[in-house]
């Protein structure tokens, strides 16, 4: 007399080494059970990985809560809000196979600023565009209350800076500001 097909419990027991020999023999010779065994294996392995998943530290949860509060707080006067960061997009609008793909950022507020950051030979190269194009004549990059670089804004709102230091900077465009931008 043949055995019934192995059920979910028997498959789990088999995978964890607790199965009975006749059931094991049946599973080995039964294509339907072998197929189901793979499904059970997938669950077992996913469960074992899930058990190993780390718990978030208090620091990490605290940071996530601060991010949320910061986002829902009205922006400080003059500061632009980041609305796009290509490095954080699940499916980047612009894909690159390069080792160091350019990073695209967009900030909105009283004006719009789009930035493209590329790894340069001695730092970070920045190419930007302002909308409206005539909102400022000059763009300033500052760090620790010191002007690091200034660039003139072209007739179509474009500006460029090369070899900016890899550090946290603030960008000033007239009255508008972008704060805490990490150039890396």
């Amino acid at each position: 007399m043949g055995l019934r097909h192995a059920d979910f419990t028997q498959l789990f027991d088999h995978l964890s080494g607790r199965g009975r020999r006749p059931v094991a023999n049946h599973i080995e010779s039964c294509p339907a059970c072998t197929e189901n065994l793979e499904k059970a294996r997938l669950i077992l392995e996913a469960g074992r990985r899930a058990m190993k998943a780390p718990k978030p530290s208090k620091r990490a949860v605290g940071r996530a809560m601060r991010l949320f509060r910061g986002f829902h707080r009205p922006p400080r006067p003059g500061f632009l809000r980041l609305v796009l960061d290509s490095f954080l997009q699940p499916a980047p609008a612009v894909r690159s196979t390069a080792a160091d793909p350019p990073r695209f950022l967009r900030f909105d507020g009283q004006i719009t600023v789009e930035l493209q950051l590329t790894a340069g030979s001695r730092g970070v190269d920045m190419h930007g565009q302002l909308t409206p194009s005539d909102c400022a004549r000059e763009v300033e990059v500052r760090a620790a209350d010191r002007v690091l670089r200034r660039a003139r804004v072209g007739s179509e709102g474009h500006f460029e800076m090369t070899n900016l230091p890899r550090r946290e900077v603030e960008i000033r465009i007239g009255e508008a500001r972008i704060g805490g931008l990490h150039l890396a």
Binding site: F8, R18, K39, I43, G47, M51, K55, A60, M65, L88
Partner: protein, 193 residues
């Protein structure tokens, strides 16, 4: 708020509800953190990836149109941040996982972490005692002996078998049809030959 689904939580977060955000963060933190850790990043680096992903999520609350796709969205966003952090740290990807690139992660990577999250959520929905038994019987490596499990569960050894069957049936019901398929129907068919 642990029982609320993602659609309700996302909507509440969009309105600035901090407790909804906390629930969402706690629900998905193990998933988010498991990705950089599996790719060999240290705990502090994984925390940074977690922060980047939370930042991306808080900025994208309005743009996630299908809440059911949230786990996939998080996996894609986290793998992207993991790739970036691993690249900066000069980390080589582990041999048992496909390497990440700056582009969208391979489907098999998304599927791997999605399966893990589905099982995690299903286990989270099972009562505490049942969950503990399944964890001890099947998800703990190395597996403890039956005697040890009976001791830890404070139940007679002879009761483990029937209880585990009920608990596994519950797990299977929660995972159907997304992960399990028709394992149960095969069990009910008469054997061939």
């Amino acid at each position: 708020m642990a029982q609320l689904d993602d659609a309700v939580l996302l909507s509440a977060c969009e309105k600035g509800d901090e407790s909804a955000w906390r629930t969402l963060v706690e629900r998905y933190a193990p998933l988010i953190l498991s990705i950089p850790r599996r790719y060999g990043l240290k705990a502090a680096q994984a925390d940074d990836v977690f922060g980047e992903t939370c930042l991306a999520l808080v900025r994208s609350l309005k743009s996630i149109r299908d809440p059911k796709s949230l786990p996939q969205w998080l996996i894609r966003t986290t793998t992207r941040a993991t790739w970036e952090a691993a690249r900066k740290a000069g980390k080589t990807p582990p041999a048992d996982l496909p390497p990440l690139t700056g582009a969208a992660p391979p489907d098999e990577v998304v599927a791997l972490f999605e399966e893990e999250q589905l099982v995690r959520e299903a286990l989270g929905e099972i009562s505490g005692r049942c969950r503990k038994l399944l964890e001890l019987l099947y998800f703990t490596v190395p597996e403890p002996s039956y005697d040890r499990i009976a001791e830890l569960m404070e139940m007679p050894r002879g009761s483990l078998g029937p209880t585990r069957r009920r608990c596994l049936d519950r797990l299977r019901a929660l995972l159907e049809p997304r992960l399990v398929g028709d394992v149960s129907s095969a069990a009910e068919r008469p054997p061939r030959g």
